[in-house]
């Protein structure tokens, strides 16, 4: 039955995607992208990927709409020219779709437990996690410990992207449009109800973010989700109270420090493994008891991930919002 729900939702997903591409109004496309994100999060949840669904929830609802709207405010809301080489593109895309559809007939059926993907390392992870790492959430165990290198790489990609956005958008604008400072940047300060409710909710979102951060060993959660949630809390504060007050509460210097310290913390824990006589990112040696060492290592690197993601996402948001006022 749940599979049927999934199929229904996937159909809605395709309809939404077609509408996103079809509409000429970019604002509408961004709104539909919000629905797309909700739909795909439900699909992830139905497909047993609670952690992934939580990440998509935190990123899709809190961050991505705000970023796209920020970019639209700086560029344009309407596509003027529409499509180029429509028929050629359609032919190429349709034939590629047919090739892909043909290829799917070689895939194992949905949910087949004998599929090759389930035969390789995954059973080992599931079997050995209680023994080596002893935390309930296997996803966190694989993310932080077994495949720590991978995650380190991803954290540095996020870090680099953040630096890139800051480089691009902190340059002095040569373009038109000197806007009055007080016109934008004050957020919704004049609107009493959003302001009161927003201020009420910010601490709860922060608290929930910290819960997700530190409960990530036991339930869905971890540094990536928590970072996005905490960034969403500050974005909410910026929306209801204005940019300058948010920057006064958490200045850009602090965000830079957060980004750098998070990445360094992750790398530092890895190096500590070498110093203590084992290999890079082996947490077993961090404590006398290997399992306790794993616990400590995972908490530390998840904290590092959370710090970097918070710092990067907030810096990106501030970079877009500040551009609005130059």
């Amino acid at each position: 039955m749940t599979v049927l729900f999934g199929i229904f939702l996937l159909t809605l997903l395709v309809i939404t995607a077609v509408a996103i591409v079809h509409t000429r109004n970019l604002f509408v496309a961004v709104m539909l992208l919000g629905i797309f994100s909700l739909l795909i999060a439900i699909n992830f949840f139905i497909l047993d990927a609670a952690d992934v669904a939580l990440t998509e929830a935190a990123v899709g609802a809190g961050i991505s709409t705000v970023l796209f709207l920020g970019a639209l405010a700086l560029t344009t809301e309407r596509e003027r020219l529409g499509t180029q080489h429509r028929w050629l593109s359609l032919v190429v895309v349709t034939s590629a779709t047919l090739v892909l559809l043909y290829a799917t007939f070689d895939k194992p059926l949905f949910g087949d437990p004998d599929a090759p993907v389930h035969q390789h390392v995954a059973p080992w992870y599931l079997e050995k996690t209680p023994e080596y790492i002893d935390i309930p959430n296997v996803v966190t165990a694989v993310l932080a410990s077994f495949r720590g290198y991978d995650t380190l790489g991803e954290v540095f990609v996020v870090f680099t992207a953040g630096i890139g956005v800051m480089f691009l958008l902190s340059a002095h604008s040569g373009g038109p449009g000197r806007r009055k400072r007080e016109a934008s940047g004050i957020g919704l300060r004049e609107h009493l109800i959003p302001r009161v409710v927003g201020r009420l909710l910010v601490p709860f979102i922060l608290l929930f973010g910290l819960y997700v951060q530190f409960h990530g060993d036991f339930g869905p959660g971890g540094g990536f989700q928590a970072g996005a949630l905490i960034a969403a809390a500050f974005i909410l504060y910026a929306l209801v109270e204005g940019e300058d007050r948010t920057l006064a509460a958490l200045p850009q210097n602090a965000l830079n420090a957060l980004m750098v310290c998070g990445a360094l913390l992750y790398g530092g824990v890895g190096l500590a493994g070498i110093v203590l006589g084992s290999s890079f990112l082996d947490y077993s040696v961090l404590s006398a008891d290997p399992v306790a060492g794993q616990h400590l290592g995972i908490i530390l690197i998840e904290a590092g991930v959370g710090m970097t993601v918070t710092g990067v996402l907030l810096s990106i948001f501030h970079a877009f919002a500040a551009r609005d006022r130059i």
Partner: protein, 118 residues
């Protein structure tokens, strides 16, 4: 169920190509980025689909579970990080688009090429 056993993969293929169509056929740069993020989501969906095991549950151990079947945690790990990386890189792309708009005054590909040719 046999009939619909590949439905998820078909949806993946169609979504992937819808995103691809937006990238190749649309002129507006923001729309191209939206297409890229659709493309990304399609890949996410493929991985998570592969991780599902019938009758399984999320790979988070819980007390009192009798002989549980877990879905595959590995694709979930890959996609979990990829979502955050995806939004960061999309933001980078949007940053570039904003700069293009400021330098060229437009974000339509044709017009940018026209200005470059001059």
């Amino acid at each position: 169920m046999e009939l619909l056993g590949l439905y998820h993969y078909w949806v993946f293929a169609v979504l992937l190509m819808i995103g691809f169509y937006a990238v190749v056929a649309k002129v507006n740069l923001v729309k191209k980025l939206i297409g890229v993020s659709l493309f990304q989501s399609a890949v996410f969906l493929l991985y998570i689909t592969m991780s599902k095991v019938t009758g399984g549950t999320a790979p988070i151990l819980q007390e009192g579970m009798v002989d549980p079947v877990f879905s595959n945690p590995l694709p979930q790990v890959l996609i979990l990080t990829a979502i955050v990386v995806g939004i960061s890189t999309t933001a980078l792309g949007l940053g570039i688009v904003v700069r293009i708009k400021e330098e060229y005054g437009t974000i339509e590909e044709h017009e940018i090429q026209e200005i470059d040719r001059r």
